[in-house]
């Protein structure tokens, strides 16, 4: 264990604040969280926030304003390790899904009209790794308590986080569930990061992909498979886009190229 307590900061950018809320909701472990590390900044939980050097910064949310971008660049400068927590920070969240730049500008105008932004200039929403180097990704919408606590415990003991990188299907088979995809149900298990304990398929509910995509998510193959099972193109695309953030944009671009 490191001699001095790690200095940890918890930050929220654009998102529902669900990940920070989940940390606060770890009630029986809160005392342990606050004693195992020195929590330098955590806006949702405390008022005396310090903005100095950090060992670890946990960052929730996507970047959607110029001000957030500056804040993020500042966090990166101050922190030895940056951990993206939750779907918005990891992949951009629903607000970053599947919009090209022109479409986004059109939508911005449609919603806000021709106004001068006084507070901070809006940016097209992006995951934090669009601007800074991210050392670790803690996925989930929101993140899971068990995975957060074990990641946190490893960090304060000086160990790097060790997260599952394989898809939900592996955990689903550990639970001996019958494959829902094989029953012609639109399940995103093969594309989605494990760590949730396959909680939905354990109750016969298909995976909706809320822990975001795996590195190797084979959307093309699953897309054709679902098409063969009779699902509508738009239904498949929308389901895949929900929690994939900007990762799905790459897929659709590649998909368009393949179609040509």
């Amino acid at each position: 264990m490191p001699k001095d307590k790690l200095k940890i900061g918890i930050y929220e950018l654009t998102g529902c604040a669900g990940d920070a809320l989940l940390i606060v909701d770890c009630e029986e472990e809160l005392v342990n969280i606050f004693t195992a590390a020195s929590i330098e900044a955590f806006l949702m939980a405390k008022s005396d926030n310090r903005h100095g050097e950090l060992d670890v910064a946990l960052v929730e949310g996507s970047v959607s304003t110029e001000k957030e971008k500056e804040e993020l660049l500042d966090i990166r400068k101050r922190a030895r390790v940056v951990v993206a927590i939750g779907g918005c920070a990891c992949v951009g969240g629903p607000q970053a899904a599947f919009l090209d730049k022109k479409e986004w500008e059109k939508n911005l105008k449609k919603v806000y009209g021709n106004i001068e932004f006084s507070h901070s200039r809006p940016l097209q929403s992006k995951p934090i790794d669009a601007y800074i180097k991210v050392d670790c990704y803690l996925p989930g919408c929101p993140i899971g308590k068990a995975q957060f606590l074990s990641t946190f415990a490893r960090m304060v003991n000086g160990n790097p986080p060790e997260l599952f990188r394989f898809p939900v299907c592996v955990e689903c088979k550990w639970h001996e569930n019958d494959c829902l995809l094989n029953k012609d149900i639109l399940c995103l298990g093969p594309l989605t990061l494990a760590g949730c304990g396959s909680v939905c398929p354990n109750f016969n509910v298909p995976c909706f992909g809320c822990w975001g995509p795996t590195e190797e998510a084979n959307r093309t193959s699953e897309y054709y498979l679902l098409r063969e099972k009779g699902f509508d193109t738009e239904v498949i695309k929308n389901r895949m886009a929900n929690y994939s953030g900007t990762r799905i944009t790459e897929f659709f671009e590649q998909f368009r190229k393949e179609k040509r």
């Binding site: 060790e162 592996v170 550990w174 001996e176 084979n218 093309t220 193959s221």
Partner: protein
């Protein structure tokens, strides 16, 4: 070896007597499939279960379990999954699967986490009739000569019960009155007819004697790229395979001075991180390379070491892979036969 006769009506009373000795585990219904589980109510035993979703390896090495608790002072082994068990209803293919795991887990380093529960588990096999996906006749694992304590062959109104070990004999001695050791000519005829019926019931065949050479000859065959492109890298083929035994070990830490846990969980060589080394280099970056490894192990490498494939023909990969990459479709591709599988259609579709 002795063969005895047991009337069907006497099966549950027999199980009642012997299950006083150890936990009784058997296949039970799970949705429209089957799963091994501990059985207290014998009517829940699925006598017609062709295959369970996960093979009985899960009883010996659970999918995820704690190997030991540790603190800064030392460690304390956790063998809580080790208990006396009687495994009833296990078919010949799965018994062969365990015999293969026995070899793999007792090489240079004996693996107590597998071997201890294995030693404490009595194997009570049960005969079966193949469905469309079974191909254990091709792997010669349709019959069993070793690896069981008792084996029950279901002949409609009665069982013929093979005694395969002294421990099996001990079980018989707990309730000798249920058994009849006088077999008639008619019993032998009934058994022979049943064997013929079973032999003729197989729909799926794979020529395994050709596979080692065909794997070598097809090492650079283009179809590996096709299976790689369609593979969802979901790892299910390994999870459901009775002979896949790879695992990963991770330390789970807790806050508040609680001991840590060294967890062990099933892994698969088809997953990208399996062949990744320090520094992020990956020896098998592409799925096609990983699948080739999987099939090399099943169809070629194990043959050169032990003289037979490490596939037992249980058909689980056939019913599990969502994109139909399995021993049958890959064997067809290796033989240059037409392949009817999603991965082949997918290859044709994307190349359009």
């Amino acid at each position: 070896m002795r063969i005895l006769k047991l009337q069907k009506k006497d099966l549950f009373p027999l199980l009642k007597v012997i299950s006083r000795e150890a936990e009784l585990w058997a296949p039970t219904a799970k949705g429209d499939k089957f799963a091994y589980g501990r059985v207290l109510d014998f009517s829940r035993i699925a006598m017609d279960a062709v295959r369970t979703i996960i093979p009985p390896k899960k009883i010996m090495v659970p999918s995820l379990f704690n190997m030991f608790n540790f603190t800064e002072k030392g460690y304390q082994e956790d063998l809580s999954h080790v208990t006396d068990r009687i495994l009833f209803g296990i078919h010949p293919c799965d018994i062969h699967g365990l015999l293969i795991l026995d070899k793999l887990f007792s090489q240079a380093y004996l693996d107590p986490y597998y071997l201890e529960p294995r030693k404490k588990t009595l194997i009570l096999g049960l005969s079966c009739l193949p469905d469309a996906y079974c191909f254990c006749k091709s792997t010669h694992t349709d019959i069993i000569e070793e690896g069981y304590d008792l084996f029950f062959t279901d002949l409609e109104s009665y069982f013929l019960v093979w005694i395969g070990s002294s421990r099996g004999d001990d079980l018989i001695r707990l309730a000798p009155d249920f058994f009849d050791d006088k077999l008639t000519e008619k019993d032998i005829q009934t058994y022979t007819k049943w064997q013929e019926k079973r032999d003729n019931a197989f729909k799926t065949t794979v020529n395994f004697t050709r596979m080692p050479d065909l794997m070598e000859l097809n090492y650079k065959a283009p179809f590996w790229e096709e299976v790689g492109a369609a593979c969802l890298a979901c790892g299910s083929c390994s999870m459901v395979c009775p002979t896949c035994n790879c695992y990963n070990v991770v330390d789970k830490l807790f806050l508040g001075n609680k001991p840590g846990k060294r967890l062990r969980h099933w892994d698969s060589c088809t997953l990208p991180e399996y062949s990744e080394v320090a520094g992020g280099e990956n020896f098998r970056e592409h799925k096609s390379q990983r699948l080739k490894l999987w099939y090399t192990h099943k169809l070629q490498a194990y043959v050169s070491k032990y003289g037979k494939p490490s596939c037992v023909g249980c058909g689980r990969c056939l019913v599990t892979c969502p994109v139909q990459i399995h021993v049958k479709s890959v064997a067809d591709a290796l033989e240059g036969h037409p392949v009817e599988a999603f991965w082949k259609k997918f290859a044709q579709e994307v190349s359009k």
